[in-house]
C-alpha cells in the first residue's frame, strides 16, 4: 500500500513544488522528473502482490491502468516540454501561465492516479471531480474566446454529470447500507464486492443509471459527449493528449467498477443493453461527425468518442472475448490517441494552423512526423499490425457470433469512421506540402521543435501489442473480464 501512496503522493508534491518554481525550462524538467518518479513507482507495483486497504486497492483491473497512466503522463510531459517551448517562442503563453500549467498538470495526474487506485467510491468520485476542475483550468489556458467557451461548456456539462454520478454513489451506499451497516465499509469497493450478492437490486439499478449517465458524460458517450470535442480542440495539445488518453479511460474505469458490482449481484438489471445502446450511439454519431470536421484536433477528439463508443459497446456485450477486447482497446486507444495528439501538436506548430485542409504533405515536409502521424491514424483506424486491430477483431467476431444484428451497426459505424479517418489522414500526410499559415515560408523549411520519442515510443508499444501480448497482462485481462460478466 505504501507504494500506492508514493504513486499518488508524488504528483501531489509535484503540483505543490511546480506551483512555486519559476522558469518554464526548469518547470518542464521537473514536470518530467516527477512524472518519471511516478512511473518508476508504478512499475514497482508489478512486482507486488495485489492488495487492498481502506483507501487503496490494487488488483488486476487497475494495476496496468495505473502503469499506463503514469507512462502516458511521462511521455506527455516530455512532449509538453517541446510543445511549450514553441508556444513561448511564438508568444502564445507566458511564464506565469506555465507555472500554473505545470502545477495543474501534476495535480491532474494526482487526481487520475487517485481515482484509479481508490478503494472508496466516495474518494473515487472526489478524484474524478478534481480531474474535471484541473482540466477545465488547463483547457482555458490560452484565454481566447473559443477556449473559454470550450472550458465553460466542458465545466457545465461535466459538472452536471459529476453531480449525477455523486447521486449514483449515494444511491449505491443507500443500497448497501441495510446489508452492510452504516460506515465506510458500505462505500468500499472490495467490501461491496464481498456483500453485493445480498443487496436489493432495485436501488442498485437506479444507482447504476445515474453512474452511467454521470461518469458516462466524462467518458464522452453520445449524447453526453458535447463537451469533449471543444475541450480537446481549444486547450493545449498535451492536455488534449491526456484528456483523450487518460481521463476518458478513468471515467470508464469508474463505470466498470460499478458494472462489476452489478454483475456480481446477479439479480440487478443487465447493464449490457444500456451500454450497448450508448456505445453504438457514440460510435455512429462520432463516425458521421468526423466527415464534417475542419479542425484537426476536434477531428481526433471525435475519433476518441468513436472509440469510447466501441469500448462501451464491448463491455456492454460482455463475455470473456468482448470484455477482453474492451480492456485491450482501452489500453490501445489510450496509447494511440495520445500519440496522435503528439503528432498533431507538432503538425499544428510547424504549419501554424489547425485547419485540416491547410495542412498537407507532412510525409514530404517532415517525414518522421508525417509517417508517425500516419502510423498513429492507421493504428487507431484498426489496421494491423497494431493493437486496435486485435481488439476490434475479437469484438466484431464475438459479437457477430452471439448477436448478429448488433454486429451490423457496429461494423457500419467502424467503417463510416474509418472512411473519414483515411480521407483526412491522406490529406494531412500526402500531397504537396504548403506554406506556413500567414507567411510565405514553406512548411518544409520549418524545423520540428522537441522530440518525437514519445510518439514513436507509443507506436512501438501499440505495434508490439498488436502481435504479441505479455502473459501477465493477458492473465489480468482475463481475470477482469471474468469479473465484468
Amino acid at each position: 500500500m505504501s507504494v500506492v501512496a508514493v504513486i499518488v503522493a508524488t504528483p501531489l508534491i509535484g503540483a505543490a513544488v511546480l506551483a512555486l518554481v519559476p522558469g518554464h525550462r526548469l518547470g518542464a524538467r521537473l514536470n518530467i522528473g516527477f512524472s518519471a518518479v511516478t512511473l518508476l513507482a508504478s512499475l514497482v507495483l508489478f512486482g507486488l502482490e495485489p492488495s487492498s486497504g481502506a483507501l487503496f486497492v490494487v488488483d488486476a483491473f487497475n494495476i496496468y491502468l495505473i502503469a499506463l497512466t503514469a507512462f502516458v503522463g511521462l511521455t506527455t510531459s516530455v512532449f509538453s516540454a517541446g510543445y511549450i517551448a514553441h508556444e513561448i517562442a511564438v508568444g502564445k503563453l507566458d511564464e506565469r501561465k506555465l507555472r500554473f500549467y505545470h502545477a495543474m498538470y501534476q495535480a491532474f495526474m494526482f487526481t487520475m492516479l487517485l481515482a484509479l487506485s481508490a478503494n472508496n467510491l466516495g474518494v473515487m468520485w472526489v478524484a474524478v471531480e478534481g480531474a474535471t476542475l484541473t482540466t477545465v483550468l488547463m483547457v482555458s489556458l490560452y484565454r481566447t474566446a473559443a477556449s473559454i467557451e470550450a472550458a465553460w461548456k466542458y465545466f457545465i456539462l461535466c459538472g452536471v454529470g459529476i453531480a449525477l454520478a455523486l447521486f449514483g454513489t449515494i444511491l449505491m451506499y443507500m443500497a448497501a447500507q441495510p446489508v452492510m451497516g452504516p460506515g465506510m465499509a458500505a462505500m468500499t469497493w472490495t467490501e461491496l464486492m464481498g456483500h453485493v450478492a445480498k443487496i436489493s437490486p432495485a436501488i442498485l439499478n437506479l444507482a447504476f443509471v445515474f453512474l452511467l449517465i454521470g461518469y458516462g458524460t466524462k467518458v464522452g458517450l453520445a449524447p453526453l459527449h458535447a463537451w469533449l470535442p471543444d475541450a480537446h480542440a481549444e486547450g493545449p495539445t498535451p492536455i488534449s493528449a491526456v484528456l483523450s488518453g487518460l481521463l476518458l479511460n478513468v471515467a470508464l474505469y469508474a463505470v466498470l467498477r460499478f458494472k462489476m458490482l452489478l454483475a456480481a449481484n446477479g439479480q440487478a438489471i443487465a447493464p449490457g443493453p444500456l451500454m450497448i445502446a450508448m456505445g453504438l450511439a457514440s460510435l455512429l454519431l462520432a463516425g458521421l461527425m468526423l466527415y464534417r470536421r475542419r479542425d484537426v484536433k476536434r477531428f481526433f477528439a471525435y475519433s476518441s468518442i468513436e472509440h469510447m463508443g466501441i469500448i462501451t459497446f464491448a463491455f456492454g456485450m460482455g463475455g470473456p472475448l468482448a470484455n477482453f477486447a474492451g480492456l485491450l482497446h482501452m489500453a490501445m486507444h489510450s496509447l494511440t490517441k495520445s500519440a496522435i495528439f503528439y503528432a498533431v501538436g507538432h503538425a499544428v506548430q510547424v504549419t501554424g494552423t489547425q485547419r485540416i485542409e491547410r495542412i498537407s504533405g507532412l510525409t514530404v515536409s517532415h517525414p518522421a512526423l508525417g509517417w508517425g502521424l500516419l502510423a498513429g491514424v492507421v493504428a487507431i483506424a484498426g489496421l494491423p499490425p497494431f493493437g486496435v486491430f486485435m481488439s476490434e477483431f475479437l469484438l466484431v467476431t464475438s459479437t457477430f457470433a452471439r448477436q448478429p444484428l448488433l454486429a451490423l451497426p457496429l461494423v457500419v459505424g467502424i467503417l463510416v469512421a474509418f472512411g473519414a479517418l483515411v480521407l483526412r489522414v491522406q490529406q494531412l500526410c500526402f500531397g504537396a506540402p504548403g506554406m506556413v499559415e500567414g507567411s510565405g515560408v514553406p512548411v518544409a523549411e520549418v524545423p520540428l521543435q522537441g522530440t518525437l520519442v514519445p510518439l514513436y515510443a507509443h507506436l512501438a508499444l501499440v505495434l508490439v501489442a498488436g502481435v504479441w501480448l505479455p502473459g501477465p497482462l493477458v492473465a489480468w485481462f482475463q481475470a477482469v473480464a471474468a469479473l465484468l460478466g
Binding site: W152, I156, V209, P223, M390, T397, F400, L415, G471
Partner: protein, 677 residues
C-alpha cells in the same frame, strides 16, 4: 516451414534497408535483389513440397492471439498459391529494379512517396495470408497486405486522382475485411478458438453456413473485384508504379481467390448445391461486365485493371462450377473445374503481370498511359512489342498459349452440366457458358484494340514517335512471364499434376483419375465429355506447316518488295497529330454501340465544324459505370446526408446539450422502471 517464415522475416529486413534508401545508393538493388531471392526461395520450397505430395507443414509461433497463438500451415493449397504469389514477386522484382533505375535516371531525385520499404512488406503480407492457419493471423495478414498496397498506391500521391483512388481502395478493402471478420465470427467456436483446425472440426449449421458464403463472396469478392464491388480496382491498381500494379492485379487478386477457396472448399465442409450457383452467377456477371468496361477504357493500365475483373470472373465461374460438382458428389468433375480455376489463376498472374510490365515500359518510354497518345511502338520498342504480343495473345485465350488451356478446361467442366440433377443449375450453367464465351471473345477484341492502338499504326504523339526501348532488367522481367506463357500453353499437364495434391485436399479427387493413358505432354482429363487437347503437337504442326508454307511460297512467288505511302484520304504528314488513323475510341465504337448504350449509357458526342472551317472534328465519349450509380454514389450521398444532419449537433447551445443529457437520463430511468415491473 521455418524456411518460409525466415524468408518472410527476410522480406521485413529488406524493408528496413528500403527505408534507408536516401542514405544507401545501393538500396534498390538490395531491395529488389532481396525480394527476388526470398520469393524464389519460397516458390521453390512450395514447388518441392507439392512435388513431394504436398504434405502439411505446420508451425506455431508464440505471437498473435494469446490463447491460441499464431498458427501457420502450408498445405497443398497454400503451396499452389505460394508459387503463384512468389513467381509474380520474382518477375515484379526484376522489372521493378529496372523500372526504378529508369525513373531515377530520368527524374533524378523522386518526388514520389517511398516504394522501396513498402514493396517487400506487400510481398510479405501476401505470403503471410497464404500460410496463416487461424482467423486472427489470416485477417491480420490480409489487412496488412491491404495496408501495404494502399501505401504503395499513395506513392504517386501528387497526382490529384491518386488520393481518391487510394481512399476508395482502402475503404473497400476494409469493407471486405469486415465481411471476413463477420464470417469468421460465425465460423469460430464460442470459446474464441479461431484456429482453422477448430473451425474445420465444427461444421456450422445450414443457416450460418449460408451467411458465411454470402459474407465470403462479399469480403473476398471485394478484394478480387467481383462486380459490383469492383469499383475501386480500376482506380487503385493503375495508380501504383507498374510493377506494383502488376502485383496488385496479377497476384493480390489471387490471394482473394485463395481466401474464397480456403473458406468455401476447406473450412465450410460439405457445400450445398446453390452455393456454387450463386458464385457462378457473380462470376459470369463479373466476366462480361469487366471486359465491357475494359473495352471502353483509353488508359492502358486502367484497361488492364478492368481486364483483371474479367479474368477474376472467369476464375470465380470455375470455382462455382467446382462447388456445384462437389455438392453433386462428382468429385472428378469438381477437380476438373478446380484445376481450371487454379490453372487460370497461374495463367492470369503471368500474362497480367506481363501486360502491366509492358504498360510500365510504355510509360517509361513515352511518359503516357493514354492510348490516344501512343502508337507505332513496335518500331521503337521491338522486344517489348514481341513480349506484349505474347501477353495479349495469351490473355485472349489463343492457342497454343496458356490462356487457352485454362479456358479449354473450364469449358470441359461446363460441358459436364448434364451430370447435375438441379434443372436451374443446368440452365444456369448453359447461360454462364454463353457469358464466358462472350467475355472471351470480347477480351480478344479488347486486346486487339490495346495492342493495335499502342504498338501498331503510326505514333499519335511526339513522345511516342521518339520512344526508346527500355533497359535489360525490364525486358528480362517481361521475358520470364512471356516464356512461361508459352511453356504452360504447350505443356500444361505437368503443372496440373503438380497441383493435384491441392485438388485432392479440396475435392478428394484429381482431374485425371480413372484415365489410363496419361502421357505428360497430353491434356486429357477425366470427364463425361471425353476429350483431349495437345498444345505441343499443335505448336509443332503449326511450325511445320509454316515452314512448308514459307518455303513453298518463296520458291514460287516474286520476292520483290516496294515501300510506299498508303492512301490516307489525303491526310499524310510527319506531324503525329495530323495522322488519320483509328483511335482507341473509334475502334471501340461498334462494340460500344452494340453493348454499351444501355448498360453504360455510353454516348458519342461529335463536334463537327461547319463546312469551310478547318478546325478538326472532335469525337468524345461519355459513359457511366452502373456500379457507381447504383452502389457507390447512393452510399456516399447517404453518408454525406447523415453527416450533414448529425453535424447540427456540433452547434447547439449548452442548454440543449444539457437537455440531451437530461433526456438520456430520463429514458434510462424509464427503461429501468419498465423492466422492473
Amino acid at each position: 516451414m521455418g524456411l518460409v517464415v525466415s524468408a518472410i522475416a527476410f522480406l521485413f529486413a529488406v524493408a528496413v534497408v528500403g527505408a534507408a534508401a536516401k542514405r544507401l545508393p545501393q538500396a534498390p538493388t538490395v531491395v529488389y535483389g532481396g525480394t527476388a531471392a526470398a520469393c524464389a526461395l519460397i516458390a521453390l520450397w512450395a514447388a518441392l513440397r507439392l512435388a513431394g505430395g504436398g504434405a502439411d507443414a505446420d508451425l506455431v509461433l508464440p505471437v498473435g492471439l494469446p490463447w491460441i497463438q499464431a498458427h501457420l500451415r502450408a498445405d497443398a493449397l497454400s503451396a499452389v498459391f505460394l508459387i503463384v504469389v512468389n513467381l509474380g514477386g520474382i518477375t515484379a522484382s526484376l522489372f521493378g529494379w529496372g523500372y526504378e533505375r529508369a525513373h531515377h535516371e530520368s527524374h533524378g531525385a523522386s518526388q514520389d512517396g517511398p516504394v522501396l520499404p513498402l514493396y517487400p512488406l506487400f510481398l510479405a503480407g501476401m505470403n503471410m495470408v497464404l500460410i496463416a492457419a487461424d482467423a486472427f493471423t489470416f485477417l491480420l495478414s490480409w489487412e496488412f497486405m491491404s495496408l501495404a498496397s494502399w501505401l504503395l498506391v499513395l506513392s504517386t500521391h501528387r497526382d490529384p486522382e491518386t488520393p481518391k483512388a487510394a481512399h476508395l481502395y482502402l475503404l473497400m478493402a476494409s469493407f471486405g475485411t469486415a465481411c471476413l471478420l463477420l464470417a469468421f465470427g460465425v465460423l469460430a467456436t464460442a470459446h474464441g478458438d479461431y484456429s482453422f483446425a477448430a473451425i474445420r472440426a465444427h461444421a456450422p449449421a445450414a443457416g450460418a453456413a449460408a451467411l458465411v458464403v454470402a459474407l465470403i463472396l462479399l469480403g473476398a469478392g471485394s478484394k478480387a473485384g467481383l462486380v459490383p464491388l469492383h469499383v475501386w480496382l480500376p482506380l487503385a491498381h493503375p495508380a501504383a508504379p507498374s510493377h506494383v500494379s502488376a502485383l496488385m492485379s496479377g497476384v493480390m487478386t489471387k490471394v482473394a481467390v485463395y481466401a474464397m477457396i480456403r473458406v468455401l472448399f476447406d473450412l465450410l465442409g460439405e457445400p450445398e448445391w446453390w452455393w456454387g450457383g450463386v458464385t457462378m452467377g457473380f462470376g459470369a456477371l463479373t466476366a462480361v461486365m469487366g471486359v465491357l468496361y475494359a473495352l471502353m477504357q483509353d488508359d492502358v493500365k486502367r484497361l488492364l485493371a478492368y481486364s483483371t475483373v474479367e479474368n477474376i470472373g472467369a476464375i470465380v465461374i470455375a470455382l462455382g462450377l467446382a462447388l456445384v460438382f462437389k455438392a453433386a458428389h462428382t468429385p472428378v468433375i469438381a477437380a476438373l473445374a478446380l484445376a481450371a480455376a487454379l490453372l487460370h489463376v497461374v495463367n492470369h498472374s503471368l500474362f497480367k503481370s506481363l501486360l502491366f510490365f509492358a504498360a510500365g515500359a510504355m510509360l517509361t518510354a513515352t511518359g503516357s498511359r493514354d492510348l490516344n497518345r501512343l502508337g507505332g511502338l513496335i518500331h521503337r520498342m521491338p522486344t517489348t512489342a514481341v513480349l506484349a504480343l505474347i501477353g495479349a495473345a495469351a490473355i485472349s485465350a489463343l492457342p497454343p498459349l496458356n490462356g487457352f488451356v485454362g479456358e479449354w478446361l473450364l469449358f470441359q467442366a461446363i460441358l459436364n452440366a448434364p451430370a447435375l440433377s438441379e434443372w436451374s443449375l443446368k440452365i444456369e450453367i448453359a447461360v454462364v457458358g454463353a457469358a464466358l464465351a462472350l467475355a472471351t471473345a470480347l477480351a480478344g477484341a479488347c486486346f486487339v484494340r490495346l495492342y493495335g492502338i499502342a504498338f501498331l499504326g503510326r505514333p499519335r504523339s511526339r513522345a511516342a514517335a521518339e520512344a526508346v526501348e527500355v533497359g535489360r532488367a525490364m525486358r528480362l522481367g517481361m521475358a520470364v512471364p512471356a516464356v512461361l506463357c508459352v511453356v504452360l500453353g504447350v505443356l500444361p499437364t505437368p503443372l496440373i499434376r503438380l497441383f493435384e495434391p491441392a485438388l485432392r485436399l479440396l475435392v478428394e479427387a484429381g482431374p485425371f483419375d480413372g484415365r489410363a493413358y496419361q502421357p505428360w505432354f497430353w491434356l486429357a482429363p477425366t470427364s463425361a465429355i471425353g476429350n483431349s487437347y495437345n498444345g505441343l503437337i499443335m505448336l509443332v504442326v503449326i511450325a511445320l506447316l509454316s515452314v512448308v508454307l514459307v518455303l513453298g511460297i518463296h520458291r514460287k512467288a516474286s520476292d520483290r518488295v516496294r515501300w510506299s505511302i498508303p492512301w490516307g484520304c489525303g491526310f499524310d504528314g510527319p506531324d503525329p497529330a495530323a495522322v488519320t488513323q483509328y483511335t482507341a475510341s473509334s475502334f471501340g465504337q461498334p462494340i460500344r454501340r452494340a453493348f454499351g448504350s444501355t448498360v453504360f449509357r455510353a454516348r458519342d458526342h461529335v463536334d463537327m465544324p461547319a463546312p469551310g472551317d478547318t478546325r478538326p472534328a472532335r469525337l468524345s465519349v461519355t459513359w457511366t459505370d452502373p456500379a457507381w450509380v447504383v452502389v457507390v454514389e447512393p452510399l456516399a450521398r447517404a453518408v454525406g446526408w447523415l453527416a450533414e444532419k448529425a453535424n447540427r449537433l456540433q452547434f447547439l447551445t449548452i442548454r440543449r446539450y444539457l437537455t440531451l443529457i437530461f433526456l438520456a437520463l430520463v429514458v434510462l430511468l424509464v427503461m429501468v422502471a419498465v423492466t422492473q415491473r
